[in-house]
Structure formats: C-alpha cells, structure tokens
C-alpha cells in the first residue's frame, strides 16, 4: 500500500510507492508536475520537492 502526498501545484493526491527511495521522481497525474522525494525527518516519511522540468520555449 502506498502513502499519499498532496501536489504542491494543484493539491491533487500524489501516491508515493511503499518501496520508494530518497531521490525518486514521482509525478502528479492531474497536472504533470514532477517531484523529487526527500526525507522529511528521521521517521523515514517523504516530502515532495519540485523537480527540474523542461519548460516550453516558443521562441520568446
């Protein structure tokens, strides 16, 4: 069973796999924002950090 965090961008639930490891990338199904899993404390729980993502470039 996986834990759930809330997307920092759109607040949708983002499942975090039970066997996830620090540094793993998870993606919000709703808005596509990618997050890196970081350890929140010593209890092994994860928090979401915005991961680097490709931006659009329309010749700006």
């Amino acid at each position: 069973m996986s834990a759930t965090a809330n997307c920092l961008e759109c607040d949708a639930p983002v499942p975090v796999p039970q066997d996830a490891i620090k540094g793993e990338i998870v993606t919000c199904k709703e808005c596509g924002t990618a997050f890196e899993l970081a350890l929140a404390g010593s209890d092994g729980a994860f928090t979401l950090l915005l991961a680097e993502q490709e931006e659009e470039d329309w010749g700006e």
């Binding site: 759109c10 607040d11 709703e30 808005c31 596509g32 990618a34």
Partner: protein, 353 residues
C-alpha cells in the same frame, strides 16, 4: 425509448444532432425536418450518415409531431425557432432549442442584442438555459430547455468557477473573452466570406466588439455570482473546420496562487465527466487545445496566472458542434429524461485530426 424529432436538421448542428441521436441507446429518431430538403434522404445532405439511417427529411408539421414525438430539438435559425417552438411547447412536447430565441431571460434584451421584439416573452421564463455542469438540477426538472451559443458555453465553462468563488476576488467589471472559432461555427449556408479561397488560412476578426454571446455569458455569470458582471468579447475566424478556443482575461488583485484556482475549478467540476482540467507540465499539449476535443463532448479547461499584472488567463476548448451545441443538447435531454447525463456521449476525441 423516447421518440425524438430534429427541426432544422439539414444544418451542421442538425446533422450533428442526428449523428448523436442515431447511436443513442434510449432515443428513437422519428423525424428530421428541413424546409429545403423535404423528401430527400438525410445522408444526401449529411454524407457521413450514409449507411446509418434510411430516414428522409420531412416538412415541419407541428400538429403531426405532437402525436409522433415526445421531445423535439430545434436547430432552426434565430427568429425562426420562435415561430415553431411555441406550437410544440403548447402541445406538451419537451423541447430543446439551440437557437438564441429562448436563451435570454429578459425579453427587453432581444431588441438590444438581436434587433427584434420577442413575440412570446411569456415563454422565456419557462425555458432553462442549460449548461449541465452549472445547473444540472434545474435541467432535470425542465420541459423546455435552451442551449447556449457555442462560444458562450465554451467561455462560461472556463469562467464560471472563478466568478462563483468570491474568495478569488475577480474584478467583475473587466472580463475579456477572446474566442477563436472554426468555420463550421458560421453554419452550413455558404457565402463569399465562407468561400474556400476567402476563408482558408484566415485569422479574421469578426465582432471584435458587441458580440451577441456576451449577453448569455453575462446572464449566466451574474446568476452564479449574484452580482452584475461585464463581459467584453471578441471573436476570430481561424483555420479550423471544428473547434473553439476561448481565452479569457480576468484581473485579480492580489493575484491568486495556482492551487487556489485549481480548488475553485474542482469545487465546481469534480463530478462533471465532460469537463477536463488541462494544465499539464509535460508534453506538447499543456493547456486546452481544440485539436484534442474534436468529435467529443469534452470541454477542456485550464488557466495561467501573470503575477506581475494580476491577470488570470482562463482557457477552454470545445468542439463547437458537440459540447458547443448538439452534445450539450443531448446531455440536457438525458437529464430531462432521468438518464445518466453521459448516455450516448462518451466517445473519445479523435486524434490526430
């Protein structure tokens, strides 16, 4: 099975109604009327329907329809519908009108926006302007329904949650809607401006000020927010056959956080199958694009925020003939009949198109 008739069935919206109703599991199509094509096979005018029906167009006969149909869709031109629909309404048929003749609740607005005095103002209060995602409970109990214009419904679906959620603090006096519309939005009657040589490759402004659909948008948004709302709208003909992209500009001080805007949309649309939130960080289609809704009853909705100027950009895309017209009308019929509103409408959009 409900027996349905389509009035004005030779136009593009009429043809789309036939396409949807012919594969609807709870509808039996009993008549398709056309003044100019009476006696012809339906598929001679709508060649995509060859092999799907042997139905022929017939002349409008209000008395006859009263005995043979339970519900009628009226896809007649503005000003014509108001002559035919009262006969059906008075005979007790359920009616879904797709013209502008019953969209505005205040008869005094007809001379202002449409240039005529409404001949049956008594009927206006009996019609429900149907956008199921916004007022499905009212539509469920209605016998007489009006379906909004295609650009109006597209813009409204992007704007409604932002006006309803007062915590966002949207400036209600300065809302600008910019719509890009495909050629089928102009109907099936050819003219010089729709001639291929003149229409192909255009980005042609039409009605950059005073667009009639402003009235419907203001009416719906004002009823949702409980306050007067002023909408300025411009439309452009672009190089598509189907599709509308509505880009609406709202001004908010201080600008909201994306998460608050997401919450406003979810609060209104979380149970609405046909509204899809599209604000994606990945892929080539990160915001709504009509290309991805063609052939479907979906309305894709998304937004962006310009913090520097306090501008909230609300985007929405529909297939103008489906969610913008015939699909919204069939969805309304489903509700009026007590059916699941998705019945007969769950087809996925075409891609690529």
């Amino acid at each position: 099975m409900v027996r349905v008739a389509v009035l004005g069935a030779s136009g593009y919206i009429g043809g789309e109604l036939l396409r949807l109703l012919l594969q609807h599991p709870e509808a039996e199509l009993v008549a398709a009327t056309s003044r100019t094509h009476a006696g012809e096979y339906v598929f001679r005018v709508h060649p995509n329907l060859r092999g799907t029906t042997e139905l022929k167009f017939s002349s409008f006969d209000g008395g006859g329809l009263a005995g043979s149909a339970d519900l009628a869709f009226a896809a007649l031109p503005h000003g014509e519908s108001v002559k035919a629909v009262p006969q059906l309404a008075d005979a007790g048929l359920k009616v879904i009108d797709l013209s502008a003749d019953f969209r505005l609740s205040d008869s005094r607005m007809y001379p202002v926006w449409y240039g005529y005095d409404h001949p049956r103002p008594d009927l206006l209060e009996k019609f429900v302007l149907s956008i199921p995602e916004i007022n499905r409970d009212k539509v469920k109990g209605a016998s007489l329904v009006s379906s909004p214009g295609c650009t109006a419904i597209t813009a409204i679906l992007a704007l409604a949650p932002l006006l309803k959620d007062k915590s966002l603090g949207v400036d209600r006096d300065h809302i600008v809607v910019d719509a890009k519309v495909g050629s089928s939005g102009a109907g099936g009657k050819p003219s010089l401006s729709t001639h291929f040589s003149e229409r192909f490759n255009v980005v042609r402004p039409y009605k950059p000020a005073g667009h009639r659909h402003s009235a419907e948008i203001e009416q719906v948004l004002a009823s949702l927010s409980g306050e007067r709302v002023a909408v300025s709208m411009s439309a452009h003909a672009v190089n598509m056959v189907r599709g509308i992209l509505s880009t609406s500009h709202l001004f908010v001080s201080p600008p909201p956080k994306p998460i608050d805007v997401w919450k406003a949309y979810r609060a209104m649309y979380s149970g609405s199958y046909f509204v899809r939130m599209v604000r994606d960080k990945q892929g080539p289609f990160r915001l709504p694009d009509p290309k991805l809704v063609i052939g479907s009853n979906f309305c894709d909705v998304g937004f962006e925020i310009e913090e520097r100027t306090g501008r909230l950009v609300a985007l929405s895309a529909t297939d103008n003939l489906v969610k913008g017209a015939a699909g919204n009308a069939v969805q309304s019929m489903n509700l009026m009949l007590g059916l699941d509103e998705k019945t007969g409408l769950t087809m996925a959009p075409l891609h690529p198109v």
